[in-house]
């Protein structure tokens, strides 16, 4: 099975080509091809996983490659690297992609560009899987850029909406800023180590560090360049601004790309290149602090948002922050595990919100309310996901989030105590804002009766994936059951798995967090379910804070100013210089000088033939005079 794993990115790519070239006119056929390719990918991934699991734990790395371009002695490859990390990611990506594609069949049913939509989804899956199976830095960069393209196309899928047109451009450009760093990192690796291959770089770096060929600071520098890419793609502070705007795309896209898979690519990349990151405490510290700060920062913003998808977007930012924090703190397994569980419940949350939007044609949570009467399945599954993300046992989020906090607690990163409390507080905020969302949307009385009357449960092809994901959100966490730790034994950095704490130790450690989470839920219920306190009054009382959060700390305004005033201001100066100095001044100036000089000389051309004759004779006379004397 493993030797055919190149088919995993290959099949969706083929599906893309077939849809674009041949079946654009046939909606059902296009969707069918796309879904079929994805299902095949999923089963292939299962096969790969199974085969890998059968291997001896020390031999669970299979890699093969082809030459892509060659400037002897230097070569670049495309290839496949199957190891537990990859197998894990393959399963996540193919499964969520498959479910989202099935869901999309229902969700996008009335769209005119249905086939195009599916072709983009296929292209996305292909590029994402290319990135996942990559065995070298160049290939991961290629996949990375291609998922960026798909993200651009899908955010801008409804390109006629000005907001969508703005959002897709913003996403691409902000990602490019991060990618600039990534590219420099990749090039540095290529030039310094003369190879892009993960395994070889790992070997060279380990070797070089031990005999001091390379300083740890140098390796940390490379790691931080690579991390720039992760900051862009995983929307970490300060490049987080694109992700909330990306919600202009169709909701299934938000679920697939901007929650479950693509944005996790940054985390995956850091895990993939962990050798470089773990070489020096500096890079680990930066990673941990960026992650921890983003987690808290985004959670505070999420508290004050009104748009159902934006709340989820900020929660995604916050959860991605957790993962990055975990990797920075040394919790490799915990971070990847959270990525896996998060993919399930965040996809579920988005698809659930999609179901709500599909029913109501509205995204403002203050126009919803009491939806549980109309949408039983959606409500139930959404509740499961909310519990999972809040981290209530035995739902998936509990296990992974707890493992992260645990690893931060035990980490050696400077300031890990602060990071730990930031993480705990974020857990509290998460519980609060997620239940705020849940209570406002699904419980109580309908706020907009007109919309409510039209609301209906979604069709089976939409609720089906919801149920599957709900089951996963419940069960996936058990893979890493305390004391057993199947997952920890499978995915780990280095040769020794991180030890799995027993359930007693786990509960002993995590009860304060759990308590805070419950408090968060209770507070949320007090505000939005029982309405003991009034949220409006609170907002009024702390108006500056509320405004600050509601306006996302004014980051969009700041970047807007930077682009409009600084960048375009500079561009105006350059433009002026080009037009006036270079073109009008130097180029046309040369022409002007020539013209004027010609004008002066032309004064001698009187047009009177006898003047010319005079000159001729005078000249002859002068020459004669000169020659003879």
């Amino acid at each position: 099975m493993i030797q055919h794993s190149w088919l995993i990115p290959g099949m969706p790519a083929l599906a893309y080509a077939v849809i674009v070239l041949f079946t654009r006119r046939f909606k059902a056929l296009s969707a069918g091809i796309s879904i079929l390719a994805m299902a095949a990918c999923f089963f292939l991934s299962m096969g790969v996983f199974q085969e890998l699991a059968k291997l001896d734990p020390s031999a669970r790395t299979v890699s093969f490659s082809w030459t892509w371009l060659q400037i002897p002695p230097w070569e670049a490859h495309v290839g496949v690297l199957i190891d537990p990390l990859c197998a894990n990611m393959l399963l996540v990506v193919t499964l969520v992609s498959l479910l989202v594609q099935i869901y999309s069949w229902g969700y996008m049913h009335d769209d005119e560009r249905f086939s195009v939509y599916f072709s983009y989804l296929s292209l996305f899956s292909a590029s994402m899987l290319l990135l996942v199976v990559a065995n070298n830095y160049l290939q991961i960069f290629i996949g990375w850029e291609l998922v960026g393209l798909c993200s651009y196309l899908l955010i801008g899928f409804w390109y006629f909406k000005p907001e969508a047109a703005d959002a897709c451009k913003k996403a691409f450009v902000v990602n490019r800023i991060g990618d600039m760093g990534f590219l420099m990192g990749v090039i540095t690796i290529g030039m310094m180590f003369q190879t892009f291959d993960f395994a070889e770089v790992q070997k060279i770096v380990t070797q070089g560090l031990s005999d001091h060929t390379y300083s740890t600071t140098f390796i940390a520098g490379i790691a931080l360049l690579l991390f720039c890419g992760a900051v862009g793609k995983s929307a970490q502070f300060p490049l987080h601004v694109w992700l909330p705007d990306a919600m202009e795309g169709p909701t299934p896209v938000s679920a697939l790309i901007h929650a479950a898979t693509m944005v996790a690519a940054g985390v995956y990349m850091v895990a993939r290149t962990y050798t470089l990151f773990s070489a020096d405490p500096l890079s680990m510290t930066v990673v941990a602090w960026v992650g921890g700060f983003t987690a808290l920062f985004a959670a505070t913003i999420a508290v004050a948002q009104d748009d159902i998808k934006r709340i989820l977007a900020y929660s995604t930012l916050s959860q991605l922050g957790y993962m990055i924090l975990s990797l920075g703190a040394g919790g490799y397994t915990a971070g990847m595990f959270h990525l896996t569980t998060h993919a399930c419940f965040k996809a579920l949350l988005f698809l659930g919100s999609g179901s709500v939007i599909h029913g109501l044609h509205n995204q403002d949570i203050w126009k919803m309310g009491g939806l549980w009467r109309k949408m039983k399945v959606t409500t139930l599954t959404f509740a499961v996901a909310t519990l999972a993300i809040a981290g209530i046992p035995p739902f998936a989020g509990f296990f992974s989030k707890d493992a992260i906090l645990d690893s931060v607690h035990n980490s050696a990163v400077p300031g890990h105590c602060v990071l730990y409390y930031m993480g705990v507080f974020t857990a509290f905020l998460t519980a609060f804002y997620m239940f705020r969302l849940f209570f406002v949307v699904f419980t109580g009385e309908p706020r907009d009766h007109h919309a409510h009357d039209h609301a209906h449960e979604s069709p089976l092809n939409m609720t089906g994936p919801l149920v599957v994901l709900a089951l996963l959100s419940l069960c996936v966490g058990w893979l890493n059951w305390p004391g057993v730790g199947l997952y920890s034994q499978f995915v780990h950095y280095g040769s020794v798995p991180e030890g799995a704490a027993s359930i007693g130790v786990l509960l002993g450690q995590s009860w304060p967090t759990l308590l805070l989470v419950v408090a968060g839920i209770a507070l949320s219920a007090a505000f939005y379910y029982w309405k003991v306190f009034s949220a409006e009054k609170m907002a009024e009382k702390f108006r500056p804070v509320y405004l600050l959060l509601k306006n996302k700390y004014y980051f969009d305004e700041m970047y807007g100013w930077l682009v409009k005033k600084v960048l375009f201001g500079l561009a105006s100066i350059f433009h002026w210089f080009d037009e006036k100095i270079v073109d009008d001044g130097m180029v046309d100036g040369t022409g002007w000088i020539n013209q004027k000089m010609g004008g002066l000389l032309s004064l001698t051309q009187t047009g009177y033939i006898q003047n010319y004759a005079w000159v001729i004779f005078a000249a002859v006379a002068v020459i004669f005079f000169c020659v003879s004397f």
């Binding site: 892509w68 400037i71 090039i187 350059f574």
Partner: protein, 527 residues
């Protein structure tokens, strides 16, 4: 039946030309392949003059397909393992002056031959809609191609120069007669600046000719002479002049302003050919003539001249941000990309030089594709003012999609050709071929990489303004329709070429490296 006629006019000559020529190993070819490549467009020009106007387009298309077949054959015939100049044809012409008709291809010019044929083919199809003075147009167009085809295959500087001038002059008429806007001004500016550049070039050639004592224009001999024939002072004096002379052709700052005005006014196919093929000649000639003949001069000057090229990259990108005309943005983007080509050359590093060659190929294909798109959209919307365009995506989804693809190729997205070139150039600039002392590239490398963000900004701005959002001008909406078969075909063809280079660059890089690796050894650059 129209598509069938078109396709058969394309396929039959393509296959015929491809099969007619074979490897020299299996017996001599009945006709010299490169001479055919140069002569056929010129013959076509005469044929078009002599035949009725309704045949003009078909003859032209037939010729272009023939050329494509030949170029593809040259591409398959070149042996990268052997390297050097191959398929050489030599006829002595003015023996006592040391001028000979000497054509041949190395890895780099093989790619350029392919580029010329691709752009010629696409340009012919795009010109299908020309309705004014059709015959004259296609005659000049064919002559232009004949000129560049000769320039890219000549190994003798005299003929190189001759063919180059041959190509520039038809361009003057093409812009001046079939152009739009301030066409006379643009045509004059373009031609005068290019000729000024070529004056430098000619003087440089003559200087080498007279200094060498061998009195030859053969670039192989001049390259061999570089160590013994040309002393350090000579090289230091002439290298920058030659570089700037060639640089004008590649629109190096501050001699770039012919490019936006010229492309802005030129008819679509002329912009395509100029941006795609003629402009690339600057970088090509530096690699072909200046570096091999004056290596010490290059090592001395390039660390300074590189600043001009970096200005080109970033400055043109910034200026592109503020343009108000659709085509001007593309023109400035082309200036910026050509800056990247020259920047790659300045690294004097094997990856950088290879990157420059691949970027030349890629820029040729992609710029031609972008200009073809702009021309087609202009033909439907009847305006190029960005303030009036908007929301065209709904009316022309296929063209919109292709434009996004073209934009991405310009932006340097992996999978399309632009990435390969840019990546190799950046790779080369990471560590340049200059040993010892402070390496300017430590500063320039991150600066150059900044271009990938700026390019993304201005191209996506363009996509957004023209194709996304609601329709701004209802008048345009009523008239705008999606591209027809004959309009889509050339664009799709160029996209396919770009995809081929982007997806599997190995054969192309092998070709360019067959020429670049010996060059780097010769200059003593860095591997």
């Amino acid at each position: 039946m129209f598509p069938v006629q078109i396709l058969s006019t394309i396929l039959i000559p393509f296959v015929a030309a491809f099969c007619f020529f074979h490897s020299p190993a299996s017996g001599p070819n009945p006709l010299p392949i490169l001479t055919c490549f140069i002569v056929i467009p010129n013959l076509a020009a005469f044929l078009i003059m002599a035949s009725p106007e309704k045949w003009t387009r078909w003859i032209s298309l037939f010729t272009a397909s023939l050329e494509l077949g030949i170029a593809f054959r040259v591409f398959t015939l070149y042996q990268t393992a052997t390297g050097g100049f191959q398929l050489v044809e030599q006829v002595s012409w003015l023996n006592n002056l040391g001028i000979q008709y000497l054509v041949g291809v190395d890895g780099m010019s093989t790619l350029m031959v392919l580029l010329v044929a691709c752009v010629y083919f696409a340009g012919t199809l795009i010109s299908w809609s020309i309705s004014m003075r059709v015959k004259e147009y296609f005659v000049l167009f064919s002559l232009l191609v004949g000129g560049v085809a000769g320039a890219y295959t000549s190994m003798d500087l005299f003929f190189f120069f001759l063919f180059y001038e041959f190509a520039v002059l038809p361009m003057y008429l093409l812009v001046g007669i079939w152009g739009s806007g301030r066409k006379e001004y643009a045509a004059m500016k373009l031609t005068l600046m290019l000729l000024a550049g070529s004056a430098f070039m000619l003087v440089g050639f003559l200087a080498m000719y007279f200094t060498s004592h061998v009195h030859t224009f053969d670039i192989r001999v001049l390259g061999d002479l570089s160590q013994t024939g040309f002393n350090q002072n000579f090289q230091d004096f002439w290298f920058p002049l030659l570089f700037l002379g060639f640089g004008v052709i590649s629109a190096v700052f501050p001699f770039h302003t012919w490019s936006p005005d010229g492309y802005g006014s030129a008819p679509t196919a002329a912009s395509m050919l100029h941006a795609g093929v003629l402009k690339s000649l600057g970088g090509y000639s530096i690699l072909r003539v200046a570096l091999p003949a004056l290596p010490q001069g290059a090592r001395h000057w390039l660390p300074l001249l590189v600043f001009l090229t970096i200005i080109n990259i970033l400055y043109a990108a910034m200026v592109a941000l503020k343009q108000k005309d659709f085509k001007y943005v593309i023109a400035y983007s082309s200036v910026s990309h050509c800056g990247a080509i020259l920047f790659g050359i300045c690294t004097l590093q094997v990856a950088g030089l290879n990157g420059a060659v691949i970027q030349t190929l890629s820029h040729g294909i992609v710029a031609a594709m972008t200009f073809a798109l702009v021309g087609t959209v202009y033909g439907k919307a009847h305006t190029r003012e960005l303030a009036k365009l908007g929301g065209l995506g709904a009316a022309m989804p296929v063209l919109g999609g292709l434009f996004v693809a073209a934009a991405m190729a310009n932006v340097g997205l992996p999978g399309l050709s632009g990435f390969v070139g840019e990546f190799l150039i950046f790779l080369g600039s990471y560590r340049s071929g200059f040993h010892g002392g402070f390496d300017v590239f430590q500063v320039l490398f991150p600066t150059a990489v900044l271009a990938i963000v700026l390019t993304a900004i201005y191209y996506l701005r363009l996509v957004q303004i023209v194709f996304y959002g609601p329709v701004k001008d209802p008048h345009i909406k009523a008239e705008a329709k999606d591209g027809t078969f004959i309009e889509i075909l050339p664009i799709a063809f160029l996209l396919a070429v770009s995809l081929a280079v982007g997806l599997y660059p190995k054969p192309f890089v092998d070709l360019s490296n067959a020429a670049m690796a010996p060059l780097i050894d010769h200059i003593g650059g860095f591997k």
